[in-house]
Point group: C2
Chain length 252, copies 2
């Protein structure tokens, strides 16, 4: 076989014809032009090893999560030592739980149960402004770090997470609500996030609002917000103004 005129190449790793030189990618096994080159072989091997190592770490962590997850107290209430009671529904059943778990997950429950407060003595914690379903999902999350969310449940759990300072659950709900954000929901989410100190959600909602300033005053939620919390509407305009000033500065 006649050798190509660029004799530094070996034939094994790339193909050539008269007009074109291509190499074969070790990952997708397609041919590519030298213009589209990515890495050298050493870095390719290293990246592969890194990926394998990261996957091993994920496997180990998943197994640790599974080990540390507790059974829901609703499935096995025999060893529970207190109950939670949703105050909105006088006829709803109470939800059994363990002091040890509540104390471990929430500094608010810790303060409540480790000091000699009414809740600690009576073994009953009344939770205001919450439905049975939301409270049940909240308690379940404290044991399993899992919850089935829709928009309403994410809002309900975020409120409870903020009230009882369960940071992990709050971040979980914010992440869900951010993933579902759009212009329809942006103003309501912005106001909700502000009310419950959900900074990440508030920033994300504000970013969506900034992209839709042309339609702002036509939005019904906007009109309501002007009535209910004009100070918050000012925050939107301040952010808009600041963005415009910055954009102008970069154009000079």
């Amino acid at each position: 076989m006649p050798r190509h005129r660029c004799t530094v190449y070996s034939e094994s790793d790339y193909d050539d014809d008269d007009d074109n030189i291509t190499m074969r990618c070790l990952s997708c096994e397609d041919d590519y032009d030298p213009d589209d080159a990515g890495t050298c072989k050493e870095c390719y091997d290293e990246a592969n090893e890194t990926e394998e190592e990261l996957k091993r770490q994920i496997q180990d962590l998943k197994s640790k999560v599974s080990f540390l997850t507790l059974s829901s107290p609703l499935d096995a209430p025999s060893t529970t030592d207190l109950v939670l009671l949703p105050s909105t529904d006088a006829f709803s059943p109470s939800i059994p739980a363990h002091k040890a778990v509540l104390v471990s997950r929430s500094p608010v429950f810790r303060a409540m149960l480790e000091n000699d407060m009414e809740e600690s003595r009576s073994g009953t914690i009344k939770i205001a402004d919450v439905s049975y379903d939301a409270l049940r999902a909240f308690v379940n999350y404290l044991y399993t770090a899992e919850a089935f969310l829709d928009n309403q449940m994410a809002c309900n759990l975020l409120v409870l997470a903020e009230k009882y300072q369960v940071k992990h659950l709050k971040a979980y709900c914010e992440k869900y609500l951010i993933s579902k954000l759009n212009w329809e929901k942006a103003i309501v989410n912005f106001a909700f996030a502000h009310q419950h100190n959900a900074n990440q959600l508030q920033d994300a909602a504000l970013a969506v609002i900034m992209e839709n300033m042309d339609n702002l005053t036509k939005n019904e939620d906007y009109t309501e917000l002007v009535d209910s919390n004009p100070r918050l509407v000012v925050e939107i305009y301040e952010a808009y103004l600041s963005k415009q000033v910055n954009t102008a500065a970069t154009l000079i």
Copy 2:
């Protein structure tokens, strides 16, 4: 600048001189020969995204592990509802714990505590053949999925993990012991692993023994094992024979 005679190359991604063509790796930014090419640019970008995604997953899982980890009952014994007692030391203090945690981590504790057995009624579980330090580390692991191991502690915890069927801890100890395996320890570990159904450790120890068959009969632990458990010594020879037969078969 005169263009190289292989005109299909653009100059941006590779350098050339009269005798040699090199490209620049996007990862290490070193030059390389086409012979040492790894991936195309598309696969390089994809691999980068995958790595980022895996790292995000690891971050999420670590935060979940941290959320699910319970405080050790030794740090906050106020809500505990039973004690564990190491039977080897009559004067050692008892170790407080929560039925709910023990039940959740071990099917043996579950059976013991969910049925109306002596331990459940008295709130005291006596643990045979264990030191205070090992039992304390065992209980701690049930809450935190963490333990500080040396060879002795790994063996002690493996025995407890097998007895109380705490699979996660057993795997953790096996992994540690395998990482410390060498010819000095291989026979002792092989016998120990066999006694406590630690299959992975047993296989790993057997592999080390297979590599040192020349020295087998000179090893003191071997002599002891022939006395104490000749059936297990037969297993070593059977594995050796089987390996030899297989090797011979591949050579034909």
